[in-house]
């Protein structure tokens, strides 16, 4: 174990060289970037891709016969295969490019559920969901009258799996849950949820926004029906996300956005739809963003990201342990480390998280403070906001030490 950690630590040292922003100083201090759950940083290969494409191969895609258009189309379409491999999907046409997790879930709600669910049908969510997996369902409920129910979260920060049989019933058409809670760090045991859903004839949507960056996603193994995530949380650029669903389910979707590229034939009276995936990708897409995302996936694969992420988890656990020794700090999350991801929310009694984050920033430490787009979850535990430290594959022990030392500054100023 010690040997493995040393090896990983030295791998991380090499990895850090690829992330130019990590060299930057903040308030005269070394940057310790622990806000990875909000968005990750990018390696040089991803950053440079923009330069490379815009300087050599850029053009609009799909509709062009000329060389630049052919090149950019090929580069852009090849990423579909990379994403398909990344989550173990056979048919790359099941990969829909979106602008992010949020849009992906909205497309499922308003492109699929709206037309395939009816008044009284049930959608089951969990009490640890991100607003992105709450608000679209509220909007759909207000439009077509579905019923929303929640798998409760227990005081121990785990979902109440005993309640599954009661909540997921024959009226349930969809269960939409995240694989990792972005506010509590809880890893959700999906197997039982998916099994219960399927045995009741319900489909399952997995919000993998927090899990895809850290672990191998295998949709076949999971048995998921829909899966969504964002490029920007796993070294990729802004404005790119993924919606995956099985082809027979995608065929039940109506297009969410209408326009160019998603049609087969248009007259002044009517339009017919193009094939899947194009049917769901109206307008000029985020061409360079998608191509740069392909570079991010390559980077993750080439650097054995799953192993590196074990180190991030080690760091997270280490930091957590140090903090838990301080009597004035309360840390959220399950007690079983194997059910915790590489992030944790914490509260310094008597000091508002904003003030905590502000003081840490003065020491070069970047953490997030707020509701983490999970207001009802935090409220459930009596908080309106928390501080959150989240780790990724370029973080090192220096970051952890700097983080822990900076907590002292909070005590000095406020306690």
């Amino acid at each position: 174990m010690k040997f493995k950690l040393d090896k990983l630590a030295s791998n991380v040292k090499a990895i850090r060289q690829d992330f130019p922003i990590l060299d930057r100083e903040v308030n005269g201090k070394r940057l310790a970037y622990l806000d990875n759950a909000a968005s990750s940083q990018r390696p040089v290969s991803v950053i440079n891709k923009f330069n490379e494409i815009y300087s050599n191969n850029y053009s609009n895609v799909h509709r062009g016969v000329h060389t630049l258009s052919m090149e950019s189309t090929e580069l852009y379409e090849n990423v579909r295969k990379k994403i398909a491999n990344f989550i173990n999907v056979d048919d790359q046409n099941e990969i829909i490019y979106t602008k992010g997790t949020t849009e992906s879930i909205n497309i499922v709600a308003r492109g699929w559920a709206k037309y395939n669910l009816k008044k009284g049908d049930k959608v089951v969510l969990s009490e640890v969901e991100h607003h992105a997996n709450l608000v679209p369902w509220f909007m759909l409920r207000d439009e077509i009258g579905i019923i929303i129910e929640f798998i409760p979260v227990l005081d121990d920060f785990n979902l109440d799996l005993d309640s599954l049989e009661k909540i997921i019933d024959k009226k349930t058409r969809l269960v939409a849950v995240s694989q990792i809670s972005n506010s509590l760090g809880t890893i959700i045991p999906l197997n039982q949820i998916i099994e219960t859903a399927h045995s009741n004839g319900a489909l399952v949507l997995i919000d993998a926004a927090q899990s895809a960056p850290h672990q191998k996603i295998d949709v076949k193994d999971l048995g998921a029906d829909f899966l969504v995530f964002s490029a920007h949380k796993l070294l990729g650029p802004n404005g790119v996300g993924v919606l995956w669903a099985k082809m027979d389910i995608l065929e039940q979707f109506k297009p969410f956005i209408g326009g160019g590229d998603m049609i087969s034939k248009v007259t002044f009276e009517n339009a017919t739809w193009n094939e899947i995936p194009y049917r769901f990708e109206a307008g000029t897409p985020n061409i360079t963003g998608v191509i740069a995302f392909g570079e991010a996936i390559d980077y993750l694969n080439n650097n054995n990201y799953v192993e590196l992420c074990q180190y991030a988890h080690y760091l997270s656990e280490f930091a957590r342990k140090e903090l838990s020794a301080l009597s004035y700090i309360e840390i959220l999350g399950p007690s079983d480390p194997s059910l915790r991801s590489s992030l944790f929310s914490f509260d310094i009694k008597g000091v508002h998280p904003h003030d905590v984050a502000q003081i840490l920033d003065s020491a070069g430490v970047a953490i997030r403070a707020g509701h983490h787009c999970a207001q009802p979850t935090l409220n459930r535990f009596g908080f309106s906001s928390t501080a959150r430290a989240s780790f990724y594959l370029y973080n090192d022990m220096n970051d952890v030490e700097q983080f822990i030392e900076s907590i002292d500054l909070v005590e000095k100023r406020f306690l």
């Binding site: 309106s384 000095k412 406020f414």
Partner: protein
């Protein structure tokens, strides 16, 4: 410690945060109650403004927030008690001008302790915190004026 942090957390602010004035609900007399959220962090302020004709008789607040938003609420409520409604309108305008004008470092005597917020301007993310209580004041005054 970092100089600008000292600038942000002036002693007046820390004191108002530790001992907020006018904290607690009001429920007698002619009360306008306004609930205001900061959507970025989940902070909430409930403002209770008690008026009698043209005069703001009392202002209280409840809710949770960071040191900046709590201190701002505390100072603001202190400042408003006893003011005429049109005076309050004016002070609100002054505060908004003060918080958005990065160059003006002149204290405004009329804003009293608010001058402690000079340092907050350097932290754009915190300007919103400082404004929360004042935004609810704005809504309360609007309700009174309409």
């Amino acid at each position: 410690m970092d100089a600008s942090l000292d600038d942000l957390y002036r002693e007046i602010i820390l004191d108002h945060n530790r001992n907020p004035r006018n904290y607690g609900a009001l429920n007698e007399g002619n009360i306008v109650e306004i609930e205001e959220f900061n959507p970025l962090c989940g902070d909430k302020i409930v403002l209770y403004l008690q008026s009698d004709k043209e005069i703001i008789v009392n202002v209280h607040f409840t809710g949770e927030g960071c040191s900046i938003s709590q201190a701002s609420a505390s100072i603001m409520t202190d400042l408003m008690i006893g003011k005429k409604i049109n005076e309050a309108d004016e002070l609100l305008d002054k505060f908004r001008l003060y918080m958005t004008d990065l160059n003006n470092s002149e204290p405004d005597v009329n804003l009293g302790d608010i001058d402690a917020f000079q340092g907050v301007k350097k932290f754009p993310a915190r300007v919103k915190c400082a404004g929360l209580a004042w935004n609810s004041l704005g809504k309360a005054l609007q309700e009174l004026n309409s």
